[in-house]
Assembly symmetry: C2
Homo-oligomer: 440 residues x 2
Amino acid sequence: MADWHEIAGGVTAPKGYKAAGITAGLKPSGLPDLALILSDVEAIAAGVFTTSVVRAACVDYCRQNLQAKASARAILCNAGQANAATGSQGWLDALESAMLLGQALSVPSESILLASTGVIGQRIKMDALRSGIPKLVAQASDTGSDAAAQAIVTTDLVTKSIALETTLGDRPVRIGGICKGSGMIHPNMATLLAFVTCDAAVSPSLWQQMLSRAADRSFNQITVDGDTSTNDTLIALANGQSRTPAITEMGAEAEKLEAMLTAVCQHLAKAIARDGEGATCLIEVQVSGASDEKAARQVAKTIVGSALFKSAIFGRDPNWGRIAAAAGRAGIPFEQENLQIKLGDFLLMENGQPLPFDRAAASNYMKQKASSAVPQQGVVSVNSSGGGESVPFDRSASDRYLKDDTILISVSIGNGAGTGTAWGCDLSYDYVKINAEYTT
Amino acid sequence: MADWHEIAGGVTAPKGYKAAGITAGLKPSGLPDLALILSDVEAIAAGVFTTSVVRAACVDYCRQNLQAKASARAILCNAGQANAATGSQGWLDALESAMLLGQALSVPSESILLASTGVIGQRIKMDALRSGIPKLVAQASDTGSDAAAQAIVTTDLVTKSIALETTLGDRPVRIGGICKGSGMIHPNMATLLAFVTCDAAVSPSLWQQMLSRAADRSFNQITVDGDTSTNDTLIALANGQSRTPAITEMGAEAEKLEAMLTAVCQHLAKAIARDGEGATCLIEVQVSGASDEKAARQVAKTIVGSALFKSAIFGRDPNWGRIAAAAGRAGIPFEQENLQIKLGDFLLMENGQPLPFDRAAASNYMKQKASSAVPQQGVVSVNSSGGGESVPFDRSASDRYLKDDTILISVSIGNGAGTGTAWGCDLSYDYVKINAEYTT
């Protein structure tokens, strides 16, 4: 089993990181809206960004920056204005933001990475940002992860945070992460932002490879409504402050670190999926028997993204036909007589044909899986703050939030070795309500 | 402008076709459920079928049949049972269905094409089919198109029918079509079926090429919820009974015929989109400035399929940000500073940046576009039956149904010559209600 344990502290759990989150006056609501993640030393930096042609200025800025130099000291994130579709002035705003934080930290502005979330077409309120940055820097502390996690949300119902610890050789190594997403109650605030910190020492190209693979197995496997934002950003820092030997190529140590990185990303990705707009549960679709992992992931993601399937799950209807139909149109060839579908422990289809099953019991299985512990309003933290110390296995609030709301679908499409998983949420009245009932 | 006019008669408007629709007892509702389209002579036949790996027996049957011999005398379509995921017995049922109709018509069973719609995993009720076929054949007449159109629906709110007439040389040539789709009130009844008849003489390979291109510009450009059925089928017959010279290669005559075939398919496709579950309007997205037509179509279809965009349209919110974001993630490269977005006559974005516009007026434009004339329950015909005679330009019921419910979005992504259009509908509470409120 997993060779790590959970610790408190989020992105400040790894050694040598500080974080902060303040109210700078960017959001009309007066809620926290400016976040900082700071490494004590220049850290190796890797990033995965939106594939959209329509991108925010911060995305272009980070891409250029990481291509020139795969390292950074700090990440500055604002919420309230997406700074996307803002043209050349948006680009200048991004440059100025980096310069201002660089000056406040006495580091070159090339060591600053940027992220934005909020309304598309709106520039960052630069006056508020200018006066906020010194305050933000002054607040930075090694217990600041939760404050940062709260300052990056837009309309998420909960903040999302995790930290894991393992050992490389005999020394502890930690990876922490925070993210936001899927709370698009106001239009155009659809953004996935995730920030990961690590205190291992890794070579830049290997860290980027690890992050890209981890993203493919986590954030790229969740879908709330199939829409991709202009601002989606995943940045991971590795600052070497655990004093473990530098990892420069794949091997046992690298695999262990990558597995933990993947676990952090999957935890955060699932937290986004279950906080999807109007969601009443988390759906996990496991596909096996494919020719390779990529094919399996594609089938899993197609199923979990099907509007018909998502509606059936909202109705707690064990509708194997919609699962079979979605698997069939995923673009991955397979023999339909090899198709097997399970819902929890209920075998619904085998050899491509439906089996008799206890519909009431299967529906009951789904009815029991509900995110009843998810707060229905306001932003609350699900992971208490801390300075990196271990917490008991009973994770209290976080644990209650995470358990027993996952509806599991297992699909086998053949005899191949490829397996893959995707996560999503159901399609409810509230999704439509949230996204349509906006008075223009 | 278009070099044709609309006539009455649906699939029996072209010369040499009969049709029928009866209640054979396949649907539990007792509504018509068995349809026949019959050509007086062996007709050239082309088909486009679901790309899903999970397919109905009738799809495999038609594919094999058309590969062996690109001609047919008759199409038999049942509603009520999809005969998909029914294994080898479903295949034998399909073969028997073709054999039975062939015997009743005294034609080889190889001249029969098949289509099914209804519940996935259910075999056709063969006893009802066996006793229904003689009755069906007896009913076949040159005014039978509407009866056939009613017998192929599942839970569509309206039947869909069209016939157009032009001249090749100095002789009249006609294309008629009926289709069903998008009425998936009961689970697993999601099927797009479309049948087109033509009395021109065309070579088999050219007819298939024309049909494939027409499908790419019509049925393949509509989306209700992104789900593809196990049974999707488009079949087009061309029987030469107009006595026009055979068309064997592309040229002026072929282009004229293909343009009319495309118009028939687009009319039927739009009728399906506006009858989408819970739809309150038809959305047409026109994309220009792409490098080629395929790229333009892809951007258009991505926009019209975006759940966020569809929800905004339901709320009649002129949300250009969701249009820009969907265009950006369509997988087609373009420079975001070339992006232009119009809603009706309102210019919302130019040079990749939002423009000031009258939000209230733009929202009003959308509010006026509503399918208020769409019947809210029961199945009614929107195109009165007839024997092929011309009707005045005022198409009364059909015309009222079709006008003034189309919200037009125009997007330009550059200076290329590629243009493409896609059609869809908004995402409403009723979509979720229809697909979730199913008591297991």
